[in-house]
């Protein structure tokens, strides 16, 4: 009986995003981000937002992504308000409410910034919700990255979800004991502040323990069997080269735009 390898394929249905390797997904996120920085046309930005949103909606939408998006929407609303009122280049009034004028330039600037934030959130959300830690680790190891480096990278990437998981546990315990009802945003924020330092210490403690057990479990052993990728990916090398090339071109173009201002 096959009890281990390819277990995920057997229990879950394959989706289109399972054919895209993790590095391509990350490069795609970087490419979309650079596109949004290079082309400032608002319609183009809106198109990119829609494209990245479609990517997210056509994949697996996790509650963590929804939470991140809702938090960003709150930030975006604040940004639009502040820039609309106080942006340094504000000239043309858009509308006035009770003698407070809201300007067009600040509003458009805030919209561009918001679009970039949304593109980054949607693209990274697509990566996070369609790959697992083990898939990323196995893939990176299979393309030649040293396992120690893979583990270090994964630990850094997942330290925030680990903090979030610990926080949920503490808050759940608090609610169960009736300490903090956490119904409103203020109550939620207030409940986080006193547990912030113990939370970070606990997470670091867990990370130290994990690194100890990994050494005990021989993860840096020279005889380690190279991991095989979880799925069969489509045209990995081509997509890596293509996306890397266009991303480098976009970075170069952005740098040229900045430098040419001073020339």
């Amino acid at each position: 009986m096959e009890i281990r390898d390819n277990s995920i394929q057997r229990i879950a249905q394959m989706h289109w995003y399972n054919f895209v390797d993790p590095v391509t997904k990350l490069l795609l996120a970087l490419f979309l981000t650079m596109l949004s920085f290079d082309f400032t046309n608002l319609y183009f930005e809106a198109g990119l937002v829609l494209f990245s949103l479609m990517l997210l909606l056509l994949s697996r939408l996790s509650s963590a992504t929804i939470n991140a998006v809702s938090f960003c929407l709150f930030l975006i609303a604040t940004m639009v308000l502040i820039q609309g009122l106080f942006y340094s280049g504000n000239i043309h009034p858009l509308f006035s409410v009770m003698r407070i004028t809201f300007y067009r330039e600040g509003f458009l600037y805030a919209l561009t910034m918001s679009a970039r934030i949304l593109i980054i959130i949607f693209a990274i959300g697509f990566f996070m919700s369609t790959t697992t830690v083990s898939e990323n680790a196995k893939y990176l190891e299979s393309i030649g990255m040293p396992y120690k480096l893979v583990y270090l990278l994964m630990s850094v990437c997942y330290i925030l979800p680990q903090i979030q998981q610990n926080m949920k546990k503490i808050q759940f315990a608090e609610r169960a004991r009736g300490i903090n009802p956490q119904k409103t945003v203020t109550q939620k924020v207030r409940s986080i502040l006193p547990i912030l330092i113990p939370l970070i210490i606990k997470t670091f403690d867990q990370s130290i323990n994990r690194s100890i057990t990994l050494q005990l479990r021989g993860f840096d052993s020279p005889s380690r069997t190279l991991a095989t990728p979880k799925y069969r990916y489509f045209q990995t090398k081509l997509s890596h080269y293509l996306l890397t090339l266009v991303t480098i071109l976009l970075i170069g173009w952005k740098l040229w735009q900045i430098i040419s201002k001073f020339l």
Partner: protein, 280 residues
């Protein structure tokens, strides 16, 4: 020179770095290999630190002021850590920290150690299935480790430690989150293990007295008593604040002595004691 059939600890003292308090003071003790050694003691007695020293976590991964030496057979955790580590299975107090965090399924998590040791895939499949059956995790093999209960997580942590077939097994409070049935099954399973030296920190004094060949009792970092469970339990002092097994309490209450003012601490001793009384 070290006896290669013994665990021997000589004048062992340890203080953690950035800490003024000495956690272990002048511990000297020995026990034969392939026996089950129960380590008992109250809070902050130094049980976990002793386990870390025996596994070589101290001084190889955690530092501090260390004096004295430890020999496990002909290996020392200080000098031959790599060789010793290949033969050691360690279960942490917190089972969640034991997991690699890189496995999607319980089966992959158990296989992690074997992959690290370069074991062939067919052998990995066999050992994972075998260990899962031993620890009643077969039904959970395809589940995510994050979906397991506390007791199942502890069993998974034990599975990851024993899958490499270690000759030294160090278990730091491995039943703290298990239900009574799971705990009973664990101690039954432990009793069946052969050719392995087991060092077990546990507060389950009844179960320890049933399976342990020797007990080491720590109090405030000192080894205050050691010997067979019968010897240690019958010499307990109140200031050590160690609970006694129910069988011992009952025997003492009923004055069912084994002679020489010793009271039974496990079921076999109690049976023997009652049998002797009936014959007389």
């Amino acid at each position: 020179m070290a006896n290669n059939q013994q665990i021997s600890i000589n004048d062992l003292s340890f203080t953690y770095r950035h800490d003024s308090k000495t956690v272990l003071h002048d511990i000297s003790v020995s026990a034969p290999l392939n026996s089950i050694i129960g380590i008992i003691g109250n809070h902050n007695a130094g049980k976990t630190t002793l386990c870390r020293l025996l596994a070589g976590i101290i001084p190889n991964m955690m530092s501090g002021q260390l004096s004295g030496d430890i020999h496990i057979g002909n290996l020392s955790p200080t000098h031959d850590w790599s060789a010793l580590n290949r033969q050691t299975g360690f279960v942490l107090q917190d089972p969640a920290s034991q997991l690699s965090g890189l496995a999607d399924t319980v089966a992959d998590e158990i296989a992690f150690d074997l992959l690290n040791h370069g074991v062939a895939e067919a052998e990995i499949q066999r050992r994972v299935a075998d260990v899962a059956a031993q620890l009643q995790l077969t039904a959970q093999l395809q589940q995510s480790p994050n979906s397991l209960s506390g007791g199942q997580l502890q069993r998974l942590a034990i599975a990851t430690a024993i899958v490499t077939e270690p000759t030294l097994l160090i278990l730091d409070n491995p039943t703290s989150e298990m239900d009574p049935q799971g705990r009973r099954a664990f101690f039954e399973w432990l009793r069946r293990i052969k050719n392995t030296t087991i060092l077990l920190v546990s507060n389950e004094i009844d179960d320890l007295c049933e399976i342990a060949d020797r007990l080491w009792l720590l109090a405030d970092g000192e080894l205050v008593s050691q010997g067979t469970p019968l010897e240690v339990i019958n010499q307990l002092k109140s200031e050590w604040q160690i609970g006694t097994p129910k069988i011992y309490q009952l025997a003492k209450l009923m004055d069912w002595s084994l002679g020489a003012d010793l009271f039974p601490v496990n079921i076999n001793q109690l049976r023997g004691c009652l049998h002797d009384r009936d014959s007389n």
